[in-house]
């Protein structure tokens, strides 16, 4: 029997949509309130995604597009300010429309939206007040109860911050306090991790997962302005929830034992002998090591340092790191696609591949990155040279290689920004040279040449932009020998003025590890987008076409993102 929808189900799912819209309307109405000391503001992010799926079932006409469905995702952030007090809420909503069919008069949902441990009255919808907080901002004290973001030092011991580039919005739900006493800052946090359950940019078909309440408590003391120095020290403890216990309550983390304890210190110096310096060291103890896959509860450690100098027209930055068994602390939470403690990677993250992503999250790596920028014409022309050197000793896990690697990655770049023309370009060559195995077995090297470009130029009264990157990857020897591949991503945009832009996108790749198929042919993806900004604080985008799947890294974290084939309407409205 061909598929059909029932009015009741459609109405119920549409109700969620209307509720979301009304909420934003109520908030907007608050602007005209006669009490100026109260301020209501917010942001609404909405996406309608039409997912095309060519699969079908026997006896169903192919033209019915049985598995096609619409996905509505809405995120409302709203806050109310009154003097030093602030109340904030984030409501996330998702509804799948048309994601079912009837087989012999029995409704069949195409997938289970809710994973075990997640309940909601409607089978193909979900709504959640994902973030909620009450804050106080005084002259010497900041207090927050509810969901907040926090990082200590350079993030090695604790870094729960937004990373919207790869759709990560994990907060710490609990209490945050920061007290300033003269040149001293004392920061204390305690709570449980609160990962977003509704993906804003990615398909929620992958299921709404239950929250696993991992307990995090931390304390940091900062002493500013000790001559040219800032000093800091911190400790953080983690107690990870049993993922199999779906009935666990948030507060149970305080009764469990500590699984990981990190303590560290940092020193920062400004203008000492013309240098800006930073150094941080952290010791990672794993009393609950078995939870994190640590043999014999062996401790880990991390050291990071940076030095910047500005001789003449040159800005020189040298960064170094040595991380040993520090990624273990992310072992449990990374299954929910976020991390709680991530130090600087020193990588050129834009060109990370499925292979080199292992080095980003290595448990035994040292590295240095040297970058020099030259103000050839200050503010206009800035060429740069970067050299990354790494020694990755970890094997197994995400690593494709079976011998340690030495990584050499030079990148040359140039920024040229004139009044109406800009060129931002980088080109590099990365070599992941593997050690020879005993007996002199040569495992070769993975090599990648890459170029990326952003070009802007006037076209009459309009403005054009061309951007993209090209990578050519050559594999060394590994257990699952892959095929060399090329990867091209390009876009061209015309900005017509008055907030109207037209953008074309294309991807081409023959990477055998990419888990998606192009809409033009197997390797080629194409898409177009109309962008409208009818007023300030209001953006609409209408996208049609496809883009490829693949790994994407930002902010020290990497995610395998799925491809897309269909249509998408997105709106961002500030109110």
């Amino acid at each position: 029997m061909p598929p059909r929808a029932t009015p009741s189900a459609t109405a119920a799912q549409a109700l969620i949509l209307v509720l979301g819209v009304l909420t934003s309307g109520v908030a907007a109405a608050g602007e005209g309130d006669a009490r100026p000391e109260v301020s209501v503001s917010g942001q609404d992010d909405l996406e309608f995604r039409y997912w095309r799926d060519d699969r079908t079932l026997p006896d169903f006409p192919e033209e019915d597009h049985l598995f096609d469905y619409w996905e509505l995702v809405n995120r409302i952030n709203m806050k109310v300010d009154r003097g030093p007090l602030q109340l904030g809420v984030q409501l996330d909503t998702v509804a799948m429309l048309g994601a079912y069919y009837y087989l012999n008069d029995v409704r069949v949902n195409e997938f289970d939206l809710h994973a075990d441990g997640v309940t909601f009255p409607l089978p193909l919808a979900y709504a959640n007040f994902d973030k909620l907080w009450l804050g106080y901002q005084g002259d010497t004290a900041q207090l927050l109860v509810g969901d907040g973001y926090i990082a200590f030092g350079r993030g090695l011991a604790l870094s729960l911050v937004k990373n919207t580039n790869i759709d990560i919005d994990s907060s710490l739900r609990g209490a945050h306090a920061k007290v300033t006493l003269g040149s001293w800052d004392l920061t204390a946090v305690s709570g449980v991790t609160n990962a977003q359950q509704v993906w804003q940019d990615n398909p929620n078909k992958q299921q709404i997962r239950p929250d696993h309440w991992h307990m995090v408590s931390g304390l940091r003391v900062d002493r500013y302005g000790l001559g040219p120095l800032n000093l800091g020290a911190h400790s953080v403890v983690y107690s990870f929830a049993d993922r199999a216990d779906l009935d666990a309550q948030p507060w149970e983390g305080y009764a469990r034992g500590v699984d990981a304890a990190i303590t560290g210190a940092s020193v920062e110096a400004f203008g000492v002998l013309g240098l800006d310096l930073f150094a941080e060291g952290d010791l990672f103890l794993y009393p609950g090591g078995e939870v994190l896959g640590v043999e014999d509860n062996a401790p880990g450690y991390a050291v990071y340092g940076s030095a910047a100098a500005y001789p003449g027209r040159v800005a020189l930055l040298v960064e170094g790191k040595h991380y040993k068994d520090v990624e273990r602390v992310n072992a449990v939470v990374s299954r929910d696609l976020y991390e709680v403690a991530v130090g600087p990677t020193l990588e050129y993250e834009r060109v990370i591949t499925e292979d080199s992503g292992a080095a980003v999250n290595s448990n035994d790596i040292s590295g240095v990155r040297i970058r020099a920028d030259v103000a050839a014409k200050p503010g206009v022309l800035t060429p740069s040279l970067t050299l990354g050197l790494f020694r990755d000793r970890e094997l197994g896990g995400l690593h494709f290689n079976r011998a340690p690697e030495t990584i050499i990655h030079p990148v040359a770049g140039v920024d040229w920004i004139a009044d109406s023309v800009h060129v931002l370009a980088n080109a590099g060559f990365r070599v992941d040279q593997r050690d020879a195995l005993p007996g002199g077995v040569d495992l070769g090297a993975d090599r990648m040449a890459h170029v990326d470009l952003s070009l802007g130029f006037p076209i009459g009264s309009a403005h054009g932009e061309i951007g993209g990157d090209l990578r050519y990857f050559m594999w060394g020897e590994n257990l699952n020998q892959q095929t060399d591949f090329t990867l091209l991503t390009a876009n061209a945009a015309v900005h017509l003025g008055h907030g109207v832009s037209i953008v074309g996108y294309t991807d081409w790749t023959d990477d055998p590890l990419i888990d998606s198929v192009g809409n033009i042919n197997e390797n080629l993806y194409a898409a177009g987008e109309l962008q409208l900004q009818p007023a300030d604080g209001m953006t609409f985008k209408l996208f049609y076409g496809a883009y490829r799947a693949g790994i994407r890294c930002a902010g020290g974290q990497c995610r395998m993102l799925p491809g897309f084939d269909g249509a998408r309407l997105s709106a961002t409205i500030n109110f």
């Binding site: 109405a29 602007e31 503001s41 800006d276 910047a308 931002l424």
Partner: protein, 185 residues
């Protein structure tokens, strides 16, 4: 298919009615913050009372931000002596914050740059973190204007807004009555 199309149209209509405000954010109090600048000095928004302040969120990894920056530098140079303050707030998190000052130095920029390493402030002003993102704040610390993203030519509207606000500030100072002398002891 028609059903879904109708739903989309209904949604767009609903969105355009109550939620679509062509003057988004105007008149609201800007959230207070205190951040350190790249030279380690604390800067609070409340200290900007009585001035016209443009807050611009950016990051070292944001290409449109780099393209917009020279225009903001020109804006800063033009109006900084007329009661205008530009606060460039880096949304680089703890992991990439070491790159902020070298980037600023390499371009020769002189505007103030603040560090929001735990993303608290950017999360308050612009929860989806789309960059660049700007808010123009008046002398009473209320939002005058918001702008998201940057495409060539946007700097014209930004300057127009700043100029209007600076001129209004100057006019207010001109007509304001002189301060009363302190009372005799």
């Amino acid at each position: 298919m028609r059903r879904w199309l109708a739903l989309v149209l209904v949604f767009l209509f609903a969105l355009a009615a109550p939620g679509a405000n062509p003057h988004a954010g105007e008149g609201q109090t800007a959230p207070e913050f205190t951040l350190r600048d790249i030279d380690n000095k604390p800067v609070s928004l409340k200290d900007m009372a009585g001035k016209v302040t443009l807050i611009s969120f950016w990051a070292t990894w944001c290409a449109p931000c780099q393209v917009e920056m020279p225009h903001l530098q020109k804006l800063y140079d033009t109006y900084k002596d007329k009661g205008f303050v530009l606060l460039m707030i880096s949304a680089d998190d703890a992991r990439s914050v070491s790159r902020v000052k070298p980037l600023i130095k390499s371009k020769g920029y002189s505007f103030p740059v603040l560090l929001d390493t735990d993303t608290k402030v950017v999360s308050q002003y612009n929860p989806n973190k789309t960059l660049p993102y700007s808010e123009l704040i008046g002398p009473d610390l209320k939002v005058l204007w918001q702008h998201q993203g940057y495409t060539a030519g946007d700097e014209v509207e930004t300057e127009r807004r700043v100029k209007l606000a600076v001129e209004a500030l100057a006019a207010a100072k001109t007509v304001a009555p002189p301060a009363a002398p302190p009372a005799a002891p």
